[in-house]
């Protein structure tokens, strides 16, 4: 279970973004367990965009 559900929609958006770019992605709970989802999203977008 992720920590209190923070950023769940953002996590799912990030999951979809990674999947469409790479064809695969970490599971949604793995993404949502990141210490700082916003930082992770910016870094992933910076690499894949």
């Amino acid at each position: 279970m992720t920590d209190l559900g923070i950023g769940s929609m953002g996590g799912l958006e990030l999951h979809s973004f990674i999947t469409s770019a790479l064809g695969t992605a970490p599971t949604l709970p793995t993404i949502l367990s990141a210490e700082n989802l916003r930082v992770l999203a910016r870094r992933v977008e910076g690499v894949l965009a």
């Binding site: 769940s8 929609m9 996590g11 979809s16 973004f17 599971t27 210490e35």
Partner: protein
Amino acid sequence: MKLPHPPPGGADLWLLRQPEPGTCTGVLDLAELDENERRRAGTCRREAGRLLYSSAHIGLRRLLGAYLDTAPGALRFGRAPCPCCDRRHGRPVLQDTESTLHFSLSHGSGMALIGVSTLPIGVDVERVPTSDTARVCFPALHPEEQSELSAGAQAGIDAISFGQLWTRKEAYLKGLGTGLARDLAADYLGDNADRRPADWTVLDVPCGPRHIGAVALHVVQQPVQSVTVHWLPIDSLYQGATCVVDKQEHLLGELVA
């Protein structure tokens, strides 16, 4: 101040709005948080995020402390076993207490929602999503939820309807204890309450014009009797404020602010 427990089959919901950074009239007592909570607060890069996380967790501790007549800082939190794998990352629980109270906390984008009940409970509050977010997340929903949202949606998915459905789903999954590890398409949490998961009552919670919320209550042992929404003012969480003030008479005014 001691708060009476919610009645059997009842739930108290507490809404907390994060003040704008720089407008606080008091200081939050971070000493009431445990080491893990302080560490998590420290990972928030923005002041607003730190403020919301800290105030939500201090609010949870002050409320549970008032219900249980215990010092907020003395409460110890743990996790129940996950229903999927039995590892201890399921619903948050209180340790070292005989209390039968259940609780759930959600916070995001300026608002926190705390639920306390005699029944297993899950809550969720979210800012109304953008239409882009709704469009991206839409395929993950239950097929019948997708059909409902698509019906008559010529200009795209309605973000408020999507957000309301999402908060119902997340509140239910938090109450269940699986969180988002459970397939989002596995359960129907659409507008037809009769088709939602058996043994659960899921209600939409009014959270003002910019947020949406929901609560899920497990009703195997007793039906839901009453759910009361309270306002938790931020100034009741500052250092030196010893009581939780229920300004329920201000709830509507706060919601439209």
